[in-house]
Symmetry: C2
Subunit: 502 residues, 2 copies
């Protein structure tokens, strides 16, 4: 018996389950991803757009918000400079921080919020610019990337003081965190608060991010010729290649117009959602092989689920429901991690980057909602949350062809994968890479972070793949040192991660 549910109605139950389990916690990146994938089976599924040169081209008039800006970009940069973040530790802050808004559409009043962390003073001029994007779609790069993953500070359990991340990426790069698209975190659409719902989708997100970047470079002109790398995780597996391709295409037009190109060197995406079919198949295979599912349930899925088909049998739907029920309430983003059982703030406890706290979301949300923190960040008073719910309008079922195009344009592509994440699993990513059929330059080998194996790597022609051993969905949260050494190798221009101990 066949039902007419589309591809991923398997995941319908998932959101409900997570709603129950993490009822005290905020939405996570993949919860929003599930919403999106589920919506493929709705009456108004997102369009699956190809990414042609024409799609990516952005007319110059579109991003001239800097024409007659008042105040000037120079003044605006000065205004964006952060004196100090509330609760910031006295030691270990020998670098400059900026935060504020960049207008991407003056008519709709769409302003995107950024938080920029430079390298320590003597190195900022030599280090590259790294843009970081979190996924969702609809989740905050400030809440996740900056304050729980790769930024210089994390939030203590009191929700009001910060501690240092010794493995902050700003040690080797000037890191720009962007809340994208409008409607996420502190980013907004002024004139019509609903605007972003009508314009939200992969293409609009890439367009706004591109316009943001051009205008941001007007405000920070010393970075205009700098090497730029775009990084991100989860649904940023869509965002990053799409923004990169937008840059590549517009660089061609800029060359024609005799303008300087954006110096894009490479992209690095972690536990990225890049392909629906391998993503869903890899999810269920991972659950079984990691002893979270029964043989019986997996056998039914193997036999009755054709994830490429648009029609799904009821046996398959039941089996996939069982798959989620059987694993029970674990942290799907790190299957061996503890859950957050106590969501209250705690006084007189100091966090450590070596021991990821499963309640971090709670502390970060409290911190970013403090008026003095929003003021220090130059953010408009906002009820800030990690993720917003979106009606996503366009989203191709795969970005693998786009990744191939980037390789053809000599953009260095790294894909890494924390190997204890069940949601966008290393299994799924391996399946996706096999679809690309890239020639192997250096076959599977262990790579090293200090004196331990950091994970495994394969160097394909134009693309490096690396696992990160013992890391969950948010790789820098659970394995900060390994993530740091990986990104250091990437930014240093190595073709793949180091194959011997330090």
């Amino acid at each position: 018996m066949k039902n007419t549910f589309a591809l991923c109605s398997y995941l319908l139950l998932l959101v409900t389950l997570l709603g129950l389990v993490f009822s005290n916690c905020k939405a996570n990146q993949v919860d929003n991803l599930d919403e999106l994938i589920n919506s493929r089976s709705s009456e108004n599924p997102p369009k699956t757009l190809s990414w042609t040169k024409e799609d990516a081209y952005i007319p110059k008039y579109y991003y001239t918000s800097s024409i007659d800006p008042s105040p000037s970009q120079e003044e605006q940069k000065l205004a964006d400079k952060i004196t100090a973040l509330p609760g910031q530790p006295y030691y270990g802050s020998n670098f400059d921080q900026y935060a504020g808004y960049v207008t991407v559409d003056p008519n709709a009043g769409r302003d995107l919020f950024y938080y920029f962390v430079e390298s320590p003073a003597n190195f900022s001029q030599y280090n590259p610019l790294v843009l970081w994007l979190n996924g969702g779609p609809g989740c905050s790069s400030l809440g996740f990337g900056a304050f729980e993953e790769l930024g210089p500070f994390r939030v203590n359990p009191d929700g009001q003081t910060l501690y240092r991340n010794q493995f902050s990426w700003n040690e080797v790069a000037n890191v720009l965190f962007l809340e994208s698209p409008a409607g996420v975190g502190f980013s907004y659409a002024q004139n019509d608060s609903q605007t972003f719902f009508h314009t939200s989708g992969d293409k609009a997100a890439a367009k706004d991010a591109y316009v943001f970047l051009v205008n941001w470079l007007d405000r920070f002109p010393e970075y205009k010729d700098r090497e730029i790398y775009i990084t991100g995780e989860s649904y940023a597996g869509h965002y990053v290649p799409q923004l990169a391709y937008t840059i590549v295409v517009n660089n061609l037009f800029r060359q024609i117009a005799n303008q300087s190109a954006i110096n894009l060197q490479g992209i690095a995406i972690g536990n990225p959602w890049v392909d629906d079919f391998t993503g869903v198949k890899g999810l269920f295979d991972y659950l079984w092989t990691h002893a979270l599912n029964s043989d019986q349930t997996h056998e039914l899925i193997e036999r009755y689920c054709d994830f490429k088909s648009q029609s799904v049998s009821s046996i398959c739907i039941n089996a996939t429901r069982n798959a989620f029920a059987e694993k029970g309430p674990i942290d799907s983003y790190n299957i061996y991690a503890p859950l957050c059982h106590d969501t209250s703030l705690k006084s007189s406890q100091t966090g450590s980057v070596y021991n990821y706290d499963p309640c971090s979301n709670v502390y970060v949300q409290a911190y970013l909602n403090r008026p003095e923190v929003q003021q220090a960040l130059h953010a408009k008073p906002t009820q800030w949350s990690h993720c917003s719910l979106f009606q996503w309008k366009d989203s191709p079922v795969t970005v693998l062809p786009l990744i191939k195009k980037l390789i053809d344009h000599n953009i260095n592509v790294w894909i890494y994968s924390g190997d204890v994440d069940s949601r966008v699993s290393v299994t799924a990513t391996r399946y996706a890479l096999n679809v690309l059929k890239l020639p192997i330059v250096t076959p599977w080998y262990p790579w090293y972070s200090e004196n331990e194996i950091g994970g495994y790597a394969v160097q394909y022609k134009g693309l490096a793949f690396a696992t990160v051993r013992g890391a969950g969905h948010m790789v820098p949260s659970w394995q900060p040192e390994r993530a740091f050494n990986l990104i250091l190798a990437f930014l240093s221009g190595y073709p793949s991660p180091p194959s011997s101990p330090k």
Copy 2:
């Protein structure tokens, strides 16, 4: 092209590799297992014996070492009592400890060493007797089980003081650690130090362990009617069912002779080696699905390795070698754990049961070789080590039929599996259980340890299977609380582990 190597020559390289990697560390349980399995391809492979009633029967005259014993068993028990272990913490030692030798063959002078830890005084008379056996074949239950896993004390990094294990199994049982067979740890053969090499094998080990138990019960007569459970891990997947069956068979003869039976209730075996075929297949499948091996290598193994066959193609041999080479130097017993990089003893550091120290072997070896410790344990001065090398004379390729027999004799069988051990993997154990084709009573469900999922369980008819989430090969080392709650449910007579949080 086919070579005439037997079943497990795949593993030949493994021992060499481990020798290199862990050159500073002592042999582990599975290294000895590899030796054994490799020896199946030698000119003198161990015989694969069936276990019939006749094999298991031990004539009474065989175990009458207690006839005319001098000193009496009562005096011997008194002599075996441990005043205090050197470096033992003052608090948390409200229980009695004994250690010493029990003769199993007076002619050969074969004496087996035991360490016995009673429950705290008010409970020892109510709690059952639990015998613990480590694997190898040839590894010490004192070094592993008692001082690194489930015993009341662990050794600090100074190699001379102890700290408490809050999750010691003696809280709920009187625990008897046996160094078996003769030649392991403090156990020896007096008259002919080589005796154990000529008699070592599964059948001899079971016979000696049985005679030990009968004689030990003469020394501790208050336990003669007590409920007894036999537990162990790794190659004890052979030892435990074989000893249990020996007891079952001899109980029948004792009934005929109107003697009281040994009150055996159940067995629990962790990450047990029970079946060569599924064990080797499960090892390689685990390596691939946990992103430790390349797709290419796994595909070759899938296509060219028939682990049931006695002849192996050279393609298969190369592929299995690649499988071990590709994963590189990680701790195969816990694929996410750090390695021991500094094998020196450290002063002024206190260990914690919550944070397993990868250098524990070093501390334990130092401790058990201290003359005052050997004296306190009533052990003969010995150059003690975790594992001894054996020429193993008999070992069936599977004990699954024996496990079936035990179920038929109403012995409660629990099999548990730490899910991050690659050597005797949860995958291998699931494959082995599928061979048994037992009816499922309660299908796959998450079981709870406190408020977290401790792992997953299936209740078969007569057998419970439980995974232990985030535990390596030595389950109580890496997940002491989960192991404790699991064994508590087992000893409390539950048919399978608890299905809801505490």
